[in-house]
């Protein structure tokens, strides 16, 4: 298995390289540049700025410069945030996104799996319908509707929590955004869990377990849960990535200084280095999370071996 992990990690390198190259070319092909502003930058200043950021060189040479810095762990200087390097910006935004997205993901998994199990065990009963109805609200209502609703109820009508902002990981600022991201993901996980468990519960090996006289709790927890989790694990990878890196609506609505806002602002500001740095981060995270998902498969399903 370790050889498999190593192989997968090594594959990350060409993947990142391919993503960086494509993204690099696309960014430079996009009309408008980082120094376009209402007050036109004079030619001399523009030349100085271009020299400062190596933009006066041919594209291939700029690219090699960038790769060289990248190899040395330097994501470069931000074009938009003059006082910060991309490393600084990522270092500050990543923990925020991890705290919000990661916590929401953990809660969504626990709740989603729980809801799925309850609904599957009481299939087509009132409990099933009620649990799935509430679970589905998260899927049906987009985040830009759910977010304002949460704020209206818990920040404005009942002034219990701040309506937005961020203060060094203070829990009161984190509750509503985490709740929003959880609601969005919980129904997806719950529905998949329910369907998967229903299917597993009708399998021959479950029937055998029941025939042996095992109580339902043991049948579900010891025999049905692991195989039923396989499809859930498949969706967790992409859901986690989007919760951590692309929670743009949530971050914007709650004014959270996370990665999503950096990506959006970076793109509109033509902050080449910032966008590239974040793309690399998302790529690495995607590869890493997919690897964890694959390893989880092996743990859940004894038939899978690496």
């Amino acid at each position: 298995m370790w050889a498999y992990v190593l192989r997968r990690l090594l594959v990350t390198i060409p993947t990142v390289l391919a993503v960086v190259t494509i993204c690099y070319l696309m960014l430079h092909a996009t009309p408008g540049g980082p120094f376009d502003a209402e007050l036109k930058v004079s030619d001399a200043v523009l030349a100085n700025l271009q020299a400062k950021y190596h933009l006066d060189m041919p594209l291939w040479k700029q690219y090699l410069y960038y790769l060289n810095d990248l190899i040395h762990g330097d994501l470069g200087a931000s074009f938009r945030y003059a006082d910060w390097s991309v490393n600084d910006l990522v270092k500050r935004a990543l923990p925020v996104s991890l705290a919000i997205g990661g916590t929401a993901m953990v809660i969504a998994i626990v709740l989603g799996v729980g809801i799925g199990i309850v609904a599957a065990l009481r299939q087509n009963s009132a409990i099933d319908y009620i649990v799935m109805l509430f679970g589905n609200i998260g899927s049906v209502l987009p985040s830009f509707v759910l977010g304002p609703l949460l704020v209206l109820v818990f920040a404005i009508t009942l002034p219990w929590l701040p309506s937005g902002g961020w203060d060094d990981f203070a829990p009161r600022y984190m509750i509503l955004p985490i709740a929003l991201l959880t609601l969005i993901n919980v129904s997806t996980i719950g529905r998949i869990m329910r369907g998967s468990l229903i299917e597993v519960l009708s399998s021959n090996f479950i029937r055998t377990a029941r025939a042996k006289g095992l109580p339902t709790r043991v049948v579900v927890m010891r025999h049905a849960l692991r195989p039923a989790l396989l499809p859930v694990v498949s969706v967790i990878g992409p859901l986690a990535i989007s919760s951590i890196t692309s929670a743009i609506v949530t971050e914007s609505w709650f004014s959270i200084p996370g990665l999503g806002r950096l990506i959006v602002n970076g793109a509109s500001d033509r902050d080449y280095t910032l966008v590239l740095g974040l793309v690399i981060l998302v790529t690495v995270l995607a590869v890493f999370l997919n690897l964890i998902v694959d390893l989880a498969y092996a743990w859940l399903d004894p038939k899978i071996r690496y």
């Binding site: 502003a37 007050l39 001399a44 006082d83 910006l89 500050r92 937005g164 902002g165 914007s252």
Partner: protein, 541 residues
């Protein structure tokens, strides 16, 4: 300019200098007698976009400048009425047409207790305009200093810049031509002094909390990127006795809806600006908290004067005539902006407002005249126009209105081209447009900045218009030592330039925002819309 003329100018300026000295005596915001202050003098203001930098030399945006002017103070400053008041300089005088002497106050210190000296200004200005600093708006302000542009362009060393320290507390500034509004120019954040020792010690990181040394009314406490900048009262500030607030939080919330929600839930005391379309309903809901002062800014449509269709003045005039600014203001934008029929906005210094004579005609007469002009120019109904704007609902609404005016009144079809902001401005600067959305807001109150929009060859003249007579009048006006004569000449120049219809003036900007009733110091008549935190106070509530 001959010697006698120079001497005459010098005499006039010395008289003016006395007036400036008198002005220099009043500065800090005064809290009205009888005001009961809150024991908690903390203020949360939404400042919009994240500042691009807190280094005065690298500041570009209004948002960053607003924080910068709290952390650093220039020779002069702009108060909450939009008036230029003394800053580090306690007085100044114009010794001849192009030379100014600023006298620094002895009590001005850096937040580390070191005195602020004339050398600090010399260092800061040279650094700002040094090509190595690559300050994006260096050339905008370099034009006001002798050799400024040559320094920015790397043709002369920074030591040739027209600024020198006569002694520790006396700074001499030389301008390439008479700049009567110089005290306003040196109030901008970019011309603040910067602490040389700190910059040399920390390099790029000198603006980080813990490292930064400033000379403003506040010092940097915390900076959380894309979230907030927190500043606290600077006890070493020369006017600290008149600074009421102890802590100010600048939120970096760009989303207008999030801004409103933070205001409504009590997380902030002052909004940045209302979202488009929200004004009427919110004014009815919060009548006493709604503020909507006019801004020294012009909303207009740029016309490419070199375009094959628009190079004909008759076409440009017809397009301008038929847009009903009254309906645009009252029904389309519906946020208190004022209709405009000339270049200068209300409140702009050194220029009078001009107005097209047809502005008072009934619309039927305007349409008939516009149709006649188009017919004379050989433009037939069905002719296509191309309108470029940046993608926002607000601009789209205005664009659709303009297009419908041109269609229903002149029979012209308009193709809409919605672009990202960066792409729009690139296209405008490159002349790759026919009609484009544009807006202009001043950084200091003088007509010069507006006239630049129509001056031949000006970097900001995206219309590529040129009226040599108007340019001559502007040059004459700027050489004039008599403020009334200067104003008359500049007004005449604006009228002459606008008679060529280089652009379509539409509205004077306003800034609708909500401010909590306990915030003191806000002035709706402040057309600059710049607010130093030192001018605010919190009333007991």
């Amino acid at each position: 300019m001959n010697l006698r003329h120079m001497q005459s100018i010098a005499r006039t300026f010395l008289t003016f200098a006395l007036a400036a000295g008198a002005l220099a005596s009043a500065c800090a915001a005064t809290i009205p007698a009888g005001t009961v202050l809150s024991p908690r003098q903390e203020f949360v203001r939404n400042n919009g976009a994240e500042p691009e930098s807190l280094d005065p030399a690298l500041i570009e945006s209004v948002n960053a400048a607003e924080i910068g002017r709290d952390l650093f103070e220039g020779l002069t400053s702009t108060d909450h009425h939009g008036t230029v008041v003394p800053g580090v300089a306690e007085s100044w005088k114009q010794t001849d047409a192009t030379t100014w002497v600023f006298k620094l106050r002895k009590t001005a210190t850096w937040s580390n207790g070191q005195p602020v000296t004339a050398d600090d200004f010399v260092y800061a200005w040279r650094r700002f305009l040094d090509p190595k600093t690559a300050a994006k708006i260096a050339s905008t302000y370099a034009v006001y200093l002798v050799n400024g542009l040559d320094v920015v362009n790397g043709k002369k060393p920074v030591t040739d810049l027209g600024v020198r320290a006569i002694d520790k507390l006396t700074l001499e500034i030389r301008t390439p031509n008479p700049v009567p509004f110089l005290p306003g120019v040196v109030a901008v954040a970019q011309y603040s002094p910067v602490p040389r020792a700190t910059i040399e010690k920390f390099g790029k990181d000198w603006t980080k909390p813990g490292n930064m040394v400033g000379n403003g009314a506040f010092v940097l406490k915390d900076w959380q990127v894309n979230s907030k900048v927190i500043v606290e009262k600077n006890p070493k500030y020369w006017d600290a006795a008149n600074v009421a607030l102890t802590r100010v939080t600048f939120l970096c919330v760009e989303d207008g809806n999030a801004d409103l929600k933070l205001y409504q839930s009590g997380e902030e005391d002052m909004m940045e600006q209302l979202s488009p379309g929200a004004y009427t309903a919110l004014k009815a809901r919060y009548p006493s908290e709604m503020h909507n002062g006019p801004l020294l800014g012009l909303r207009f449509y740029a016309l490419n004067n070199a375009d094959p269709l628009l190079k004909d003045i008759r076409v440009r005039k017809a397009l301008s005539m038929v847009i009903d600014r009254e309906i645009l203001s009252s029904k389309v934008t519906a946020d208190g902006q004022v209709p405009l029929y000339g270049l200068a906005v209300k409140g702009l210094a050194s220029i009078g407002q001009t107005r097209y004579d047809w502005a008072d005609w009934p619309m039927d007469k305007r349409v008939a005249e516009a149709r006649k002009l188009l017919a004379e120019a050989g433009v037939k109904p069905g002719t296509k126009l191309k309108f470029t704007y940046n993608n926002s609902d607000y601009h789209k609404k205005m664009a659709i209105f303009a297009a419908s005016e041109w269609k229903t009144k002149l029979g012209l079809d308009t193709e809409m081209d919605s672009l990202e902001f960066k792409v729009l401005i690139r296209k405008r600067h490159d002349g790759d447009f026919q009609i484009a959305r544009h807006g202009w807001v001043v950084t200091f109150n003088d007509a010069t900045l507006f006239l630049a929009l129509v001056q031949c060859g000006s970097e900001v003249n995206d219309d590529r218009s040129c009226n040599k007579k108007a340019d001559e009048l502007i040059a004459q006006g700027n050489l004039s030592t008599d403020p009334a004569r200067r104003e008359a000449l500049l007004t005449q120049a604006a009228k002459l330039a606008m008679d060529d219809y280089p652009l379509i003036p539409l509205l004077q900007y306003s800034v609708p925002r909500l401010v909590k009733p306990w915030v003191g110091g806000y002035d709706d008549a402040n057309g600059m819309d710049r607010y130093r935190s030192k001018d605010f106070w919190i009333v007991k509530h």
